[in-house]
């Protein structure tokens, strides 16, 4: 199937834009989850928002973003409060508390979806899990020239606009609260004594995660959200010990995974002679996993190869030192 410019601009470009924006936003926020050992918060949030999304949708009766967004945020906040309550008053470890709350929320969401389906509402559980990147259309552009036309940009798909806004909020939040986020991530006790309210920062991170996850959720599905919150940040962490570098690298990895995964899913099969495209969200998650595997193997200091090389260098240096000591007793 020859790929026309028009097809690319109308079908692939908006999906690609949504994927890139979602991945960049998730990757940026994910750094703080990985550093704070809250990686599963993304998993919990992306499952727990389901009843809120469906509830907001059923109440509003339309696929209006704001109703679903409000419902999702409410569900995420409620889930957060419940997890904390079960952990504190039930004296359960936080993993178990999360597991109890998010599975029940997700189950409630699935039941709600089925109730909606009974009333012929168009929303199904599959698109929640792996999104509907392929369904994002942008009908305005007809050729490269129309990308320069402001009128076309006005009709950008709603998902892309929402994701761009969320990415902007994430960048602004990280830029403004960089110092607080850093201290609270590495040393919550110090943050407390400095009067930086680590609890408040914690809540802020969870809320930011929730907002990002919700915005990305509808476009790319919960599985990709979990992958993107953790894998790029984890890969960046294999390569550097400096937070600013890690933030930059993680966003870079997120974008690379989005583009690579999307291209592999949408065009790969045709290049290989297949006749149909693959699921893009899943492929992006796989691409992120591959990037992480590469980083874990080849990272210069923390990767498997890098550590082996360092060990060998130390070994040689130690051997040299013993030779020197053995050769020259009595040296100063």
């Amino acid at each position: 199937m020859p790929l026309t410019v028009r097809d690319f601009l109308q079908l692939d470009l908006p999906a690609l834009l949504a994927a890139v924006l979602a991945c960049a936003a998730c990757a940026l926020v994910g750094n703080f989850l990985v550093l704070r050992r809250q990686g599963l918060m993304g998993d919990a949030v992306s499952h727990a928002v389901l009843p809120g999304i469906v509830g907001g949708f059923l109440l509003a009766g339309t696929r209006d973003t704001w109703a679903m967004m409000a419902g999702a945020l409410a569900a995420a906040a409620l889930a957060g409060v419940l997890i904390e309550a079960v952990r504190r008053f039930g004296r359960l470890e936080s993993g178990a508390a999360m597991g109890v709350v998010f599975t029940v929320f997700f189950a409630a969401g699935v039941v709600l979806i089925e109730q909606g389906a009974a009333r012929a509402v168009d929303l199904d559980a599959d698109c929640v899990l792996y999104g509907q990147l392929e369904d994002i259309l942008w009908l305005a552009p007809t050729g490269w020239a129309s990308l320069l036309d402001p009128a076309a940009w006005v009709t950008l798909p709603r998902e892309v606009v929402t994701l761009a806004a969320v990415l902007a909020v994430c960048v602004a939040a990280v830029a403004l609260l960089y110092k607080e986020l850093t201290i609270a991530a590495f040393d919550p006790d110090l943050a407390g004594t400095l009067g930086l309210a680590p609890g408040l920062v914690n809540t802020g991170v969870v809320l930011l995660t929730a907002a990002t996850a919700i915005a990305a959720f509808e476009a790319v599905g919960s599985i990709l959200v979990v992958a993107m919150l953790i894998a790029p940040a984890a890969a960046a962490r294999m390569l550097t010990d400096r937070l600013p570098v890690q933030l930059g690298l993680s966003v870079l990895f997120g974008v690379a995974a989005a583009v690579g995964g999307y291209v592999a899913a949408a065009f790969g099969p045709f290049w290989l002679g297949g006749g149909h495209s693959l699921n893009a969200a899943g492929m992006i998650a796989v691409a992120a996993g591959l990037l992480l595997a590469l980083a874990a193997l080849l990272g210069p200091r923390h990767g498997a190869l890098g550590r082996r090389l360092t060990a060998r260098r130390l070994h040689r240096a130690a051997a040299r030192n013993t030779d020197v000591v053995a050769a020259g007793p009595g040296r100063p």
Partner: protein, 400 residues
């Protein structure tokens, strides 16, 4: 409606429904028992990675079946694929934790999402193939009891009972590892092997549960019943039994409900039932439930306030009237009348005074003897310490 519900619950609504309901109850029973040890080993969420990691295996097994021209959808082949890729997922989590600087939560999230993503990619490939039976694969994600055949349900029930029997047989060893892995290793028990056995049992339960509950929610059956059972008891044996009962009840009620309302997805209903049982346990369980804990704390506060007020009333020349509410309470108990201690009140006040004095002396003379599980200064000391120790404290002069 009610008659129909009763017939399903008592396994009389047709053989098929009965087998599915009974099989799901067996699954819940096994999941509760295995989950108890996962919870105590703090491995609860690894099973989430495990269950999501089964998807690529199922899809790959389906493709293999197509390539080998196995007719239709061969369930054993699909489940074997699920076991293999689930175990690879768990091993990947452990390898990430062991060989990189990433923590377990990140490893779980990575394995869960990347494996599931791979499974989704394979599924989208399968969807486009021109072979039969691919529609059933999606049933593994959110579960569907309706599509289950009689033999599948019987097989599921038997496998689940096998897992439950294995936990019962390994109970002593699993208990040791759950509470003190270092000691277990020192005693020569193969801790690593036991951990692998536990994860293998979790894999078995997960794979058995894929069809009914689905891979997204099967983790709930491994986490919620043990977490609920934790509120009922402080003893492991009891906790295992309670978790098994709660799990079986969730499976039984949930499967019956979804048979009654066919458009409700079975997995979600089972999980919601388990969630309701968890909530009831969280609030009402006598050992660690919220209400019982609050009641015990309130009682303790009352005992302390009462003792303090009585002791203050004993002191001569101190204006130490208790607060009005407490005065009413003491009056109702017949310890106080008109702002003065009654005869019984005097006895009670002396006892409270003696109790606190002995506790203080114990702390001063032999702090190591203060029992860790007693409420210092509050519990009646005669009930906590042996009588000869109490007599010694009474005879000893205060050290100041």
């Amino acid at each position: 409606m009610i008659a129909e519900a009763l017939r399903i619950l008592t396994l009389q609504a047709g053989f098929n429904t009965a087998v599915v309901v009974a099989g799901t109850a067996a699954l819940g029973l096994a999941a509760g028992m295995v989950g108890t040890f996962l919870l105590l080993r703090r491995r609860a969420l690894i099973s989430d990675a495990l269950s999501h990691a089964t998807l690529p295996g199922i899809a790959a097994a389906f493709l293999l079946g197509v390539a080998l021209e196995v007719p239709g959808r061969s369930l054993p082949l699909l489940l074997a694929g699920a076991v293999v890729s689930g175990l690879i997922g768990v091993l990947t989590v452990q390898a990430i934790v062991r060989f990189t600087r990433l923590t377990e939560d990140a490893a779980i999230g990575i394995v869960l999402s990347v494996f599931f993503g791979l499974g989704v990619v394979l599924l989208s490939h399968i969807q486009a193939l021109e072979v039969g039976g691919q529609a059933g694969l999606k049933g593994f994600i959110l579960g569907q009891t309706a599509a289950m055949s009689r033999n599948e349900a019987i097989g599921m029930g038997l496998l689940a009972l096998g897992a439950a029997a294995a936990v019962a047989l390994l109970f002593k060893e699993l208990r040791l590892v759950a509470f003190d892995a270092g000691f277990a290793g020192g005693q020569g028990w193969p801790v690593a092997m036991l951990d692998i056995a536990l994860m293998a049992l979790a894999t078995l339960v997960t794979v058995v549960g894929l069809q009914t509950v689905g891979m997204v929610l099967v983790v709930a059956l491994l986490i919620i019943p043990p977490a609920a059972a934790r509120f009922w008891t402080e003893r492991l044996g009891t906790m295992t039994v309670v978790a098994a009962i709660i799990g079986a009840l969730s499976g039984w009620l949930g499967a019956a409900l979804s048979a009654l309302f066919p458009n409700l997805p079975a997995g979600a209903v089972i999980v919601l039932t388990a969630g309701a049982l968890f909530l009831a346990s969280f609030l009402c369980a006598p050992a660690r439930g919220l209400l019982a804990t609050a009641a015990r704390a309130a009682h303790l506060r009352l005992v302390v306030a009462e003792g303090n007020a009585l002791r203050r009333l004993l002191l001569p020349g101190v204006a130490a009237a208790p607060s009005p509410a407490l005065a009413v309470w003491l009056g109702a108990r017949g310890l106080l009348r008109g702002g003065r201690l009654t005869g019984r009140g005097r006895v009670a006040a002396r006892a409270a005074e003696r109790n606190l004095r002995l506790w203080e002396r114990l702390l001063a003379e032999a702090p190591a003897q203060v029992p860790a599980d007693a409420n210092w200064g509050i519990d009646p000391i005669d009930a906590v310490l042996p009588p000869d120790l109490v007599r010694m404290l009474e005879e000893r002069a205060p050290c100041r």
